[in-house]
């Protein structure tokens, strides 16, 4: 019953927020935040339980629609609610003064509800309904602002629809073969399927979830979509929505098919898992290096969204205990810090009047220190600096790749970090460090409704980095539920059999070293604070507004690697789109508007039919 309540709150709450917004605008934000966060309380009570209930029936298909809660659903549901709620709270500040706020909140809450529906659904019919609901509400939010966003939204919806159609094909064929769409029944039924059929179903689902999770070469919708969407929504989009693909992969690969079936899709040393792992590895390397060529803050983070998705796919596809745990953990961690980073970009946009180009900002640390610290925590997590959550999940993935003797995959994963470091340092430097331009010297820090989510997420990054046992316990429960050996960890360390990682020791060591360094630092004379214009400029006065190195930050490396990093896949898809448009335009010339021509077509068509009838063809 609780599951139905959760979904009802989300959907009905969305409508209520819309009505409240239309009638009493002041309460809009409060109601939206309450609706977004209320399911968290219910979910907290449901920890550790496995429930499955039927909530409706479709008589003409002879199936029952059901909801179910498994440890996997629980983890994803909690992430959705928490991150979606924080984004909504942030929007209460961000959307002040923007147009059509009721519509925006309605869509945000609808997206949250749809995602909850996806993870809580127990059969593929509800799964598909909620999936489509999520897809087109995303489209509406991406093209919220009109203009250029329409193009980005169009790209997104076309690719998403292709994925959904593939999934629909698979679902329909499953229904026809087995007569049921219940996930748990399908899991047992598929064990006895022929390899060809199971592979077909798997490939259809892979296309759908690969498009959603932006695995190379299905990623081209993502950068434009993220850049054009409203910033707090981009946070949700990147954090949880794209990761519905990861949830789908986990569902189809491990909850339904299982290891035994997956092992059968092999041809010598090549099997489905390895191919998917290599796709994940390529998704790590190429997009993280494309990210360092970007000059738009949101596009840069978008390319990182694609790249980090590669880590998740790599971990999950690899299939070992550490790998799957690392992949799921990375999904959670990535959600936290990418939401944080997009909120930071939104905060900067809010105060600088919509600026997000990395060529025009600078020095904002002096006026927006909280946003800077949040940004620093976010990029530390993204890079995987030890003591942040990103490091632990990456460590798990590296460890499994190295110990299982797959050094090339490990190399792809490791070198992605360096592309990340370069690009996110450019991101942080061009926005917050350097000289503050004159036109921004009076900007203030963002209001409390916008600061609070950023602070919460920063704390989470460090907390999960130092005490990774907290989320890892939930992940071990998932692994037990999926029937594999679970990862055994303590609150802050890995057991001896796994190798060395003791985050608490490292934390205390860094803290102690930092305190000693600070003590030595204070022993010397106090330093005097000087303004940014009291700077070395070879004996000249600092030229105001012209003393910032942020344009072409990595010029020399850029020139060396840019020719290799064109997004040729995007060009390929655009070429196909262009060719198809031409073809269909030519085809549309049938409609000439002239009745005589139409009569000719009909006569010709009848002639062809008669001719074929004479030849003996019966339709």
């Amino acid at each position: 019953m609780m599951l139905v309540t959760i979904l009802l709150i989300s959907f009905v709450g969305a409508g209520v927020t819309y009505l409240v917004g239309k009638s009493i605008p002041r309460l809009r934000g409060i109601v939206a935040s309450l609706v977004a966060l209320l399911p968290l309380i219910l979910l907290a009570f449901l920890y550790g339980r496995v429930i499955s209930i039927d909530y409706a029936s479709v008589p003409f298909l002879d199936i029952n629609l059901s909801l179910r809660l498994t440890p996997l659903s629980w983890l994803f549901a909690v992430s959705i609610v928490v991150l979606g709620g924080l984004a909504v709270i942030f929007s209460t500040g961000y959307m002040r003064g923007k147009e059509r706020p009721d519509y925006y909140y309605f869509m945000m809450l609808l997206v949250n509800g749809a995602m909850l529906g996806i993870v809580l659904s127990g059969d593929f019919f509800s799964f598909y309904i909620f999936w489509e609901l999520m897809s087109w509400s995303t489209y509406l939010l991406i093209s919220y602002r009109g203009g250029e966003s329409l193009g980005a939204g169009m790209k997104y919806i076309i690719m998403s629809v292709i994925g959904s159609s593939a999934m629909l094909l698979a679902i329909a064929s499953l229904y026809v073969s087995y007569g049921t769409l219940e996930i748990s029944s399908l899991a047992t039924a598929l064990q006895s399927a022929s390899i060809g059929y199971a592979l077909f179903a798997l490939m259809m689902f892979t296309i759908a979830f690969g498009i959603k999770n932006a695995v190379l070469p299905l990623h081209t919708w993502l950068p434009d979509a993220y850049a054009e969407a409203v910033s707090p929504f981009t946070a949700v989009l990147s954090g949880m929505l794209t990761r519905m693909g990861v949830y789908g992969f986990l569902l189809i690969m491990y909850a339904i098919m299982g290891f035994g079936l997956l092992d059968m899709f092999s041809y010598g040393p090549i099997n489905y898992n390895i191919i998917l792992a290599w796709a994940g590895a390529l998704t790590i390397v190429i997009p993280t290096f494309i990210a360092l060529l970007q000059n738009d803050a949101k596009k840069l983070l978008a390319w990182h969204g694609i790249g980090q998705g590669g880590y998740m796919i790599l971990g999950i596809a690899f299939g070992s205990t550490l790998g799957i745990a690392g992949g799921i953990f990375h999904t959670l961690n990535h959600a936290i810090y990418i939401v944080l980073l997009f909120l930071v970009v939104a905060a900067v946009e809010y105060r600088t009047g919509g600026k997000r180009s990395l060529d025009e900002l600078g020095g904002l640390i002096k006026r927006m220190p909280v946003s800077f610290v949040a940004g620093l925590a976010g990029i530390s997590g993204l890079i995987g600096v030890p003591l942040t959550n990103g490091f632990v999940s990456k460590w798990l993935i590296y460890k499994t790749l190295v110990t299982e003797q797959y050094p090339f995959l490990a190399f792809a994963a490791l070198v992605g970090t360096w592309g990340t470091i370069l690009s996110v340092f450019k991101f942080l430097h061009n926005i917050f460090l350097g000289q503050l331009p004159e036109q921004y010297k009076d900007v203030e820090e963002v209001p409390w409704t916008m600061r609070a989510p950023m602070i919460v997420l920063t704390i989470l990054i460090v907390l999960f980095g130092v005490l990774p046992g907290i989320p890892l316990r939930a992940i071990s429960a998932i692994q037990t539920h999926l029937g594999m050996t679970p990862l055994q960890t303590s609150l802050f360390g890995m057991p001896k059999a796994l190798g060395e990682l003791n985050t608490l020791n490292i934390f205390f060591a860094v803290l102690a070293a930092g305190l000693v360094a600070y003590a030595v630092f204070s022993l010397a004379r106090r330093s005097k604070r000087v303004s940014q214009y009291d700077n070395y400029a070879a004996g000249a006065r600092v030229p105001v507004g012209q003393y910032q190195h942020s344009v072409k930050f990595y010029d020399q490396a850029d020139r060396l690697i840019r020719p290799y990093l064109r997004d040729r896949i995007d060009d390929f898809y655009s070429w196909i789109a262009g060719v198809s448009t031409d073809f269909f335009e030519q085809l549309g010339k049938i409609y000439t508007g002239n009745v005589n021509t139409y009569a000719t077509w009909i006569v010709l068509f009848v002639a062809v039919l008669i001719f074929m009838g004479l030849l003996g063809w019966k339709p």
Partner: protein
Amino acid sequence: MANVIRVVRTYTRGDHRGLILLDRADIKKALKDPHKWGEKYSLWVTYFCTGCGIIEIPPVITARWDAERFGVKPMATPRQANLFLITGYVSVKTLRAIIITYEQMPDPKYLVAFGSCPIDGGLYYTSYNTINHLDRYLPVDGWIAGCMPRPEAIFIAVTKLWKMIDGEMVDGYKRYRKNIDYYRKNQERVLGREFIESIPPPVTVET
């Protein structure tokens, strides 16, 4: 036992002829006042070529005369230097850069005029563009006469500077703070009020 170096072919007079004291390895003295010890044997020079005299500096820092054996190194940025050699004549244009650079150096700092021109205008004393008496605009701690002085003269100056640091006789930077109004008045007269008001104020420090 203190180290002793013998300076050959010196062109100066006074009490430096012959033997100079290099007490770098005197640990007791170093421990008594580590700051002075560090100050003396790690004099970093701002690598700012203010005038024609800079031609004498590269021989000093390269292999033949090797200033690095005394700890003297050229540094690219004034934030890291504590010795400023005004090498050669000072034009009005260069004075702007010299003032900004001098004020960016951290305390304690020493300004040594190298050549005859900063003393009284030297060769160019009738020019409209030369600053004839540098010590009216910036506090000079020592002078090296000559046009140009030889590299050995720089070593003499450095060793004399050691003695003066020991005796706490070089306080140019303190004089600059105390008499900032006097110096600013002179600087403004030559460089204009608009320039003086546009440079950042010198960092005041309590010693």
